[in-house]
Symmetry: C2
Subunit: 385 residues, 2 copies
Amino acid sequence: MTTTAATFDAAAAEASDGGPVVVPVALGDRSYDILIGDGLIGRVGALMAERLPGARAAIVTDANLAGLHLDALEAGLEAAGIASSAIVVAPGEASKSFPVFERVVDAVIGGRFERGDAVVALGGGVVGDLSGFVAGVVRRGMRFVQIPTSLLAQVDSSVGGKTGINVAHGKNLVGVFHQPDLVVADTAALDTLSERHFRAGYAEVAKYGLIDDAGFFAWLEANHGAVFAGGTARTAAIATSCRAKARVVAADERETGERALLNLGHTFGHALEAATGYSDRLVHGEAIAIGMVLAHDFSVRMNLASRDDADRVRAHFSTVGLPTRLADVPGDLPDADGLLKLIGQDKKVARGKLTFILTHGIGQAFIANDVPPSAVTDFLAEAAV
Amino acid sequence: MTTTAATFDAAAAEASDGGPVVVPVALGDRSYDILIGDGLIGRVGALMAERLPGARAAIVTDANLAGLHLDALEAGLEAAGIASSAIVVAPGEASKSFPVFERVVDAVIGGRFERGDAVVALGGGVVGDLSGFVAGVVRRGMRFVQIPTSLLAQVDSSVGGKTGINVAHGKNLVGVFHQPDLVVADTAALDTLSERHFRAGYAEVAKYGLIDDAGFFAWLEANHGAVFAGGTARTAAIATSCRAKARVVAADERETGERALLNLGHTFGHALEAATGYSDRLVHGEAIAIGMVLAHDFSVRMNLASRDDADRVRAHFSTVGLPTRLADVPGDLPDADGLLKLIGQDKKVARGKLTFILTHGIGQAFIANDVPPSAVTDFLAEAAV
């Protein structure tokens, strides 16, 4: 744990230089940097001029974020001599749809943006997933700059190149892998986030500890208050999360193996999101918080992990105010068979077999293929009590 | 020329073994084979079982091709134990549109095809471009098998991984690079092609000679009758074309350099297609036949190539019945300024500069950046006379 703790100190020190923390994502000729720091949105223009010379900016954002940050972004772009235009979509998951996708594609092409120009995503996961898909397909691939404004987007969806939209059959079933050229995470943008959405993003931060970094999880148990308060602890948590994800993505860009570890809690979580209609009843981070607790409980039941570790996970999530039980979901849920059916519809199904991310304990997650569906229904039937 | 001629003999000999000619496309972990031979559609099932074990088949085809070849394809798949379903779109360029794209995406997802399953394109360039884009985005990338049924698709659009649809602003402006896992070119399918469309595909065959293989062009001048008649000469011409394209694509998969040579004749040609509304007035191969003649004439005018070489190109295209002059296009065309405007809208524009593929003579094409627009309008004004 000492080694891991030292890493956090380094990250905090870097940030305290005044310059942004730089997290490189090593993907050969698709490598890029994630820059993390306070008040970076106004500096995106200068950063683009330095790193993507000559690129114009097709900004994609939503109506809420436009009101908060678009002026600062545009002023910085103009000061750097970068021509831009802004495409504003409606806030919310409904914008990850074919009609909105088509409208943004048309607007980018109609704006005469070329391959060397950049789609610039200013927003959370919805804006990032939608505009990354647009950047991936206009002229068969434009440059892409992400300015994630939610904690979830800063630590998860803006790292790794997954883009996509939803269709009637499910979420993110249509998209491409398209790596950004630059990610700029402005920690000041998180100050406008609701407590509920910050907490939801925090579930993904904790996930990196649970996957393979017990020291980071222990640090979060001790320092979550400082992370929620902002400042260097928050920046360090974000940088540690980005580094963890960057490591996994560099090793397995297209999720043919190890990258699936990032889905810890997501198989149960996606089923719960589907069961609640992807509504405000349960936002993504809340669903995977419950999913991660269930994954640990299920691992205990399968005699893979200790009860103590599973209890620590549930206790920590409770402490920060995240839901941890099926009973914490407002309203009715399907029964165990109904949930299993939703799990089977999840896209991470290989040739009809059930794949789960299970664990031997905190920081020891692994990919379990061929989990017997009956064990899952038995477990869910008990968990629902 | 002797070396090149020897290559054709080898190709013809391979084909005469009875087995298909195999053209490997070397793209690292995205490498695949093109199989060329007579009567292969019925063997696609066996080939898939051997090369993509376990993959189910989401067949995409058009109403015309379905009538001609779908039974044979489905029977072969069934005999090989491969589950399949067929999605039939309307014949013609109009199917390369957002609404049809969305419908096919929905049908593939609704059919519960997974990442390891294959979209199987049975058809010409339209079906291939559309279904390749679908395969590239469903679940962020499925397997893809192409069964090109037109000469144009066999020698051009099914090699190299370019996929896409059209939008109001232009053709192929939305798509991805998505390499197939297998291409099966059944030369028997060409027997149902109209003379006009065979000729149009032949323009792309001749293009490979004009780019960098003077020996192949000379062989075509001598043997075009046999290529049009079918048999081993036709197979050899197709295999040579596929090898030439595979070489270029392997060197420059995403068209950042040399691959642009494949656009010989396409800058003028696309402008003519746009000017004629992508209608039956001028099909793609006819447009690029005129475009290639213009590219040679323009090179002569720029003192880059000899008049003799340009005359040979025009003479050969005339001999096989392809159009070679602006005046050969039925109906009115825009004037030189109008055509230049259409050229500027072509997607192969880098930062506002005009890029053309010009030539020092037959088999000596090169990429010319920064061609002065005034030289183009002067040339087109004369060519229009």
